[in-house]
């Protein structure tokens, strides 16, 4: 049985849906970051598959840049999270409803 582009795209959609479920149900900000990583990775699979099946390298380069963006997002996000945890003692989303700083 031949594996086609549709197989990869459906898998990518499935993983994206799992990530969406995570974004919807998580209250802890650290685990919300995990769900975001899942979203980014599912899109990466779709890019790589399209790049392979159309013989075009642009998809792989986009994956490259997405990985760079994900890495910097983690660095800045975790730094902010550590500062918040030092001041307030928790990282729940419900306590971040105000922007008083």
């Amino acid at each position: 049985m031949e594996i086609g582009l549709n197989h990869y795209l459906v898998l990518s959609t499935l993983l994206f849906a799992i990530g969406l479920i995570g974004v919807m149900r998580r209250k802890n900000l650290l685990l919300l970051f995990f769900a975001t990583e899942i979203l980014l990775n599912s899109v990466n699979i779709a890019f790589a598959a399209i790049s392979h099946y159309y013989g075009d390298l642009t998809g792989q380069l986009f994956v490259f840049f997405v990985i760079a963006i994900a890495a910097s997002e983690v660095a800045v996000g975790l730094g902010l999270l550590i500062v918040w945890h030092k001041r307030h003692g928790n990282i729940d989303l419900d306590n971040m409803s105000t922007m008083r700083g």
């Binding site: 959609t13 479920i21 390298l57 910097s72 730094g79 945890h85």
Partner: protein, 191 residues
């Protein structure tokens, strides 16, 4: 044949791992499952012939990002169970419908766009890494440099944010205050 077996095996493993990462109430289980899922995703890149991306995926995600998360979790109370959000029913409903529409669009999209031609076609006789390098350092040189600057900014932001003594700023104090702070610090170390 082997491609199909590998695809289904890794698809199953990745889905299960990410499902665990999303559904578990233990933060450490979520971290471990996410790291495993990242490794399994690199297998798809190897199947698709994108060897460089597979290596990058393992090095960056399982090496750097997971180490960063593990480092961050040392600051947080990870032993207690994570509280879950009882989401708004309408938001969950709407997002489910959105996901279903997404599946339909993805199924139909490759049929609609059959006449796509490659903008940067693969070069014959060159490895994947060589091909990527040729395109990256000619057509995508500026985005590459911008990404490098962005990573530098992120590194500085991480150092500044996670560094100790957030309430003190050495650039805003005069010399007497800096000396005073140093003396206080030494007292703490000695006592």
């Amino acid at each position: 044949m082997f491609e199909a077996i590998a695809f289904y095996l890794f698809a199953f493993l990745t889905t299960v791992m990410f499902f665990i990462a999303v559904m578990t109430t233990q933060a450490l289980h979520a971290l471990t499952a996410l790291a495993a899922g990242m490794i399994f995703i690199s297998a798809f890149f190897f199947i698709l012939g994108a060897d460089f991306l597979g290596a990058i995926q393992i090095v960056v995600y399982s090496g750097a990002v997971m180490a960063l998360y593990a480092f961050g979790m040392m600051f947080f109370d990870t032993t207690r169970d994570v509280k879950e959000k009882n989401g708004n029913k309408y938001i969950v409903f709407g997002l489910s419908i959105l996901s279903a529409v997404l599946v339909v669009v993805i199924f139909s999209a490759p049929m609609v766009t059959d006449n796509i031609s490659a903008l940067y076609p693969m070069v014959e006789g060159a490895g994947n890494t060589q091909e990527l390098g040729m395109v990256l350092f000619t057509k995508y040189l500026v985005p590459f440099e911008v990404a490098a600057v962005m990573l530098l900014v992120a590194m500085i932001a991480g150092i500044v944010l996670a560094g100790k003594k957030m309430d003190l700023s050495l650039t805003l104090m005069n010399d007497a205050e800096i000396i005073e702070a140093k003396i206080e610090k030494n007292k703490k170390v000695l006592s």
